[in-house]
Amino acid sequence: MLGFRMQGRVIYALLLREMTTRFGRDQIGFLWVFFEPAILAIAIGTLKHLLDRGGQHGVPPFMFGVIGYAPYFAFRGMINQAAGALTANMTLLYHKQVKLLDIMLARGLLQSGVVTVVLFVVITGAVWFIGMTPHSVPTLVGGLMLMLMYSYGLAMLVAAATAAFEFTDRIIHPLTYLALPFSGAFIPMHALPPTWRELFLLNPQPHFHEMMRDGMFGDLLPAYYDVPYALGWIVAVNLLGLYALSAVRPKLEH
């Protein structure tokens, strides 16, 4: 129990520190962290809206863009920020109660909090303007949670890999862009021919996006996802990530 309280204290301290370094001391910085993804999501949504008039079976293109983009922004952010996270925070390891896991958890929690707030604000806005309410909030939230847990597991792996092998740092950033078309963030699985769909669904990411779309649009758009399959991937990447962190710790030199 003492261990848990200690780790809680450490994560709380790291979280507040992460907020001051990222947001700065003034309130504007704090708002900016939320505005940046929100503005981008709205821009993507608007583009979708202008290019894709009429939409697919009554799915508002704006909402489709936002629901796809905001979570992908969080995914990309978590992965990119994990690259080099350990070497950048090496000075924290001079305090022996700080574990690599605490550093990762604090960052992951902050990132998750930001994207959840952004999605909440944008969806509330959409309800207001478009008059569209989510079909099933638990499904929407569930999809988001699964995606965040998957991102977190991958982030641990990326953090450990970039600390162990320098070259990985250079390839992570382009990879997150190249991975976009395969993530299913902007392609409904329903629009794909069945053989392609099967291939796409080997990747766990489209499952999360499909689940979120199901939660938002419901019967307007048939969704294809398999929660146990996605959970299997989540457990696998998280276990591997934990193992990678513990394996890389003795190699970290100050």
Binding site: R9, R17, H254
Partner: protein
């Protein structure tokens, strides 16, 4: 008590060979001890102090803490240099479960940094950094202080205050200081040891240690 049990630390070199920095070191530091460790540049002083702090893991052997041990106090170590002194104080207070306001009062009083408390620590001189680190670790109040030489050097006023602070406490606390300068060790410590070629040799008599160190 801080106990090092047959601690060895090796680093792998670029060509694949191994370099042994600490070679089977056994040491026992008790409350009230004030030990200075002398070593030439590259002798492994910093590695030793980081291993003692348990922030670096030994290749073999073990390090046991039965008292609270400070982080290794050295230049900028353990601080985030883009954050202000005050933000660092708040962060570290929380990390060690102390009240940030209480710690802040003590540090402001001890370190005498004035407006620099609100400046990023990367703008600090080494003397200012030393005062901040020292004040902060004294405020948190550890049983054992691990000190890298750079932190303990400063103007005479600071050295005197730091020495008095530590002397007032070391009846039941411990200090371990590494340095390549005999003078620094003399002003803070009561016994001394020499680190050379991975081996640590303790001397009861300080002058004996200095003589052995000079003879290296």
């Amino acid at each position: 008590m801080l106990f090092l049990d047959n601690v060895t630390k090796r680093y792998k070199m670029r060509d694949g060979s191994w370099h042994t920095v600490l070679d089977g070191i056994t040491a026992l530091i008790r409350p009230g001890d004030a030990v200075g460790i002398l070593g030439r540049n590259g002798a492994g002083k910093s590695t030793l102090i980081r291993t003692m702090a348990r922030v670096e893991y030994p290749s073999s052997g073990r390090v046991e803490h039965r008292m609270s041990v400070s982080w290794p106090l050295g230049f900028g170590v353990g601080l985030q240099n883009t954050m202000s002194g005050a933000d660092n104080v708040r962060f570290i207070s929380r990390l060690y479960g102390r009240d940030p306001d209480e710690i802040m009062d003590f540090v402001e009083d001890f370190a005498e940094l004035g407006d620099y408390m609100r400046m990023p620590t990367k703008t600090y001189s080494s003397g200012m950094m030393g005062r901040l680190q020292f004040g902060l670790s004294l405020a948190i109040d550890f049983d054992c202080y691990l000190i890298d030489e750079a932190t303990a050097t400063g103007d005479s006023r600071f050295v005197e205050r730091a020495r008095q602070m530590l002397a007032a406490r070391t009846r039941d606390r411990a200090i371990i200081m590494v340095s390549h300068q005999a003078n620094t060790i003399r002003s803070y410590c009561r016994t001394a040891a020499v680190l050379n070629e991975g081996k640590l040799t303790f001397y009861e008599d300080m002058d004996e240690a200095f003589a052995a160190y000079e003879a290296l």
